[in-house]
Symmetry: C2
Subunit: 359 residues, 2 copies
C-alpha cells in the first residue's frame, strides 16, 4: 500500500459560492445490485483513505467534492463534550459515550440509557430537540406499539448525540434551549473542533440542517477522511483532544451495541474488530472509518445516497486493509456481498462490489 | 411534440447471454437532492415515452437496456385475469380489479378487500404466496400493532395482485399452489400476454424473482413503454384484450385509493387525472404510465433504484404532457419538487429535476 503523491490540503481555496459537486462529475460505478440473471441497479461513489499527514493512500472518484458527513462523524462531534471536561464532570459512562456516537435502532437499552443520562444532567426527554422516531429494529418496534406506547424523542436514532450536546451545554453553563442551532455556543464549539481535525476554515463552508435538526457542514471528502485518521492518530492536536480521541475510541470498541443495535452493520463489525476499527454509517450513503493501528482514516459517499452501497463498500475496504480477516468476513456473512431477499426470505439477488473496483 | 425517427422494434435481436446494461453506460443526471446550500445526492435515469405504433416521442438515456418493471406493470399483468373471463366469472369488483394493479399501503380497506375476495374464490390468506409485511402507512401500522395483532399476507402490498393470480388459477381449473412460479400456467399465460403487449419474444429474456415471489422479466425500457401505450390504445390486440384494457383503466380511475393508499403519489395523482392517466410505481426506481387520450405510454428507471427520484421524474412528465394542469400540480404540492423534511417536520432541502432535463 504505497501512498501516492496526492496530499490533502489543510486549507484549500474557499469558493465564494459554495456548492455541491459539478453536475458533470461522474464518480465511478462501484456497486451493483443483481436480481436473477441481470444487474438491476448500480451505484456510483467516491472514497478516500488518508493518513494523518494528509497523504492519500487509496482513492476513487472526486475526493475534493464537499460532502455532508451526516451521522458518520458523530464520533468527531463527541470530542467537544469529552475534551471540554463535560463528560467527566457529569460522569458520562462508556455506554453513554458510545451512544453519543450512535445512530441507534431505538431498542430498550438505547432508550433507557438516554433517559437515565438526561435525568442525571437535570434534563428530560422534552429537552431533546430531535423529533420522535419509530424504532428501526422491527422486534423493538412491534413490542413498543403492542404495549400501547408511542415513540418519544429518546427513540430518535440521534438521541445519544443530543444528550451529549445537552451535557456540553450544561457544562458550559449556557442556555440549553436552541443547542441544535448553528449559532449556539455548543455547535460553534463543535465547529471549531472540526476545523482543527479537518485542517479547514469552515466558517464559509456550505451548510444545511440534518434530519435531527443540527447543522451539517459541507467538507471535502478527503478532509473528512483526514479528520477520521486524526481521531486515531491525534498527535498534532491539543493534549485534551488527544485524550478525548482515545476515550471515544475505547468507549465505542467496548460498547458496539450502543452505536447501532441488533444486527446492524456497524455493531456487528465492531464486535469483531474492537479498537482496530471505528466505523460509522451516515444518511445519504456516507460511511466513515478510523483505523488507529494503521494510522488511516476513511470517508466514502455514494452519489445517490444509498446506504446499501455504502455498507458494501465499507465491507470491501475492511477486507482490503485486512481489518477483517477472511474468517471474520465469513462470520459476518453479508458484509462483502449482501444477499437481496424477497419477503418470503429467499435470496433472489445480491448487492456486491463491481469487478474492477479500485480497492 | 414531434416524434423523432427512432422506433421501438417489435422484435430486436435477442442476446445469447442476457445481461443488464453495460457497466460503462452512463444515463444522464436528471434529479438532484438538495440540503441547505448544497446538492447532497443525485440520480441518473432513463425514460421512454412511446406511441402505440412504437414511435419514440420523448427519450432520455439508454432506452434499449433491459429493465425489470417490477410492480409498475401490475396493470398489464391484470389483463390476463380479465381477458380470460376469470374476473367476470368470479364477479371481481372495480375496487378488487384496481387492487390487482396495486402496491397498497396495507390499510384496513385494502386488507378487508383482499380477505373478502379470497373467501369468494374459495381461498384463504394462507393461499397467498407472498410473505407478510408491515403496513406502509404509519397510522395503519400503529393501529394494527397497538391492537396486539401482527400483519398477515393480506397486508403485503402485492396481496391484490396475488388474489388476481389465484382467481385466474381457479378459472383455469389448475392447481393454485405454486401459482407464483415461472413454470405455472398462470405465469405462463401472463408471459404470453406480455409478449403480445411488448411485441417481443420473452422466452429467452433474462429473469429473476420479485420481492413477492413471482417472476420478473428483463424487458427493454422502450418496449415496456410500448406495452403501456397499448394498454391505452390496444387496437392491434385481440378483442377480449381490448375490452380488458378498457376495464382495467376504468377500475383504476374509479378506485385510485385501492392502487396505493393515503397520501401515496399514485393515488393522489390519479384522484385528479381520472382516466387521463394510469400511473404506477415499481420497486428499484421504476415508474410506468399510460396516457390513453394522448395515445402514449411511458416507462422510466432510475439507475440506482431510488423511488424518490422516480416520483419526481413522473411528476415532471405529467406536467410536460399537460396531464396535470399548473393548478393541479400546485394542489399536489410535492409532485414536481418534493421537500426533504427533517424529523421535526421542517423543510431542509428538496428533491427536484435538474436544470437541462430533456423533458
Amino acid at each position: 500500500m504505497t501512498p501516492d503523491t496526492t496530499e490533502i490540503k489543510a486549507a484549500p481555496a474557499q469558493s465564494d459560492t459554495p456548492a455541491g459537486p459539478a453536475a458533470g462529475t461522474a464518480n465511478p460505478l462501484l456497486v451493483e445490485v443483481t436480481r436473477g440473471a441481470m444487474t438491476e441497479s448500480r451505484h456510483r461513489a467516491a472514497l478516500a483513505v488518508v493518513d494523518s499527514d494528509g497523504n492519500v493512500v487509496i482513492s476513487a472518484g472526486d475526493i475534493e467534492q464537499p460532502v455532508y458527513a451526516r451521522s458518520a462523524i458523530k464520533s468527531l462531534q463527541a470530542i467537544a463534550m469529552v475534551e471540554s471536561g463535560a463528560a467527566e464532570a457529569f460522569g458520562v459512562s462508556q455506554a453513554e459515550l458510545a451512544m453519543a456516537c450512535a445512530s441507534h435502532s431505538g431498542e430498550p437499552r438505547h432508550v433507557e440509557t438516554a433517559e437515565a443520562w438526561l435525568a442525571r444532567i437535570g434534563c428530560g426527554v422534552d429537552d431533546l430537540e430531535c423529533g420522535p422516531q419509530l424504532p428501526g429494529y422491527e422486534p423493538a418496534l412491534i413490542t413498543l406499539l403492542a404495549s400501547g406506547r408511542l415513540p418519544t424523542r429518546a427513540h430518535n436514532n440521534c438521541s445519544g448525540k443530543h444528550c451529549g450536546f445537552l451535557t456540553l451545554a450544561r457544562h458550559m453553563g449556557v442556555e440549553t434551549a436552541g443547542y441544535r442551532l448553528y449559532e449556539h455556543p455548543v455547535q460553534q464549539r463543535i465547529l471549531g473542533m472540526l476545523e482543527g481535525m479537518t485542517g479547514l476554515d469552515l466558517g464559509a463552508a456550505p451548510r444545511g440542517v440534518d434530519g435531527c435538526g443540527i447543522p451539517v457542514i459541507g467538507i471535502p471528502l478527503g478532509n473528512i477522511a483526514l479528520a477520521m485518521s486524526r481521531l486515531g492518530v491525534p498527535d498534532d492536536q491539543p493534549e485534551a483532544r488527544q485524550a478525548a480521541c482515545r476515550q471515544i475510541r475505547r468507549a465505542v470498541a467496548a460498547e458496539p451495541f450502543m452505536v447501532g443495535g441488533s444486527g446492524r452493520f456497524d455493531t456487528r463489525v465492531m464486535e469483531l474488530t474492537g479498537e482496530r476499527a471505528l466505523i460509522k454509517t451516515g444518511a445519504e450513503g456516507v460511511y466513515c472509518a478510523c483505523f488507529p493501528a494503521l494510522g488511516l482514516g476513511a470517508a466514502l459517499k455514494v452519489d445517490d445516497g444509498a446506504g446499501r452501497a455504502a455498507e458494501i463498500l465499507m465491507g470491501r475496504l475492511l477486507r482490503r486493509l485486512d481489518i477483517l480477516s477472511e474468517e471474520q468476513a465469513k462470520k459476518l456473512g453479508g458484509v462483502l456481498q449482501a444477499p437481496v431477499h424477497n419477503r418470503a426470505g429467499l435470496a433472489v439477488g445480491e448487492v456486491r462490489p463491481l469487478a474492477g473496483i479500485p480497492f
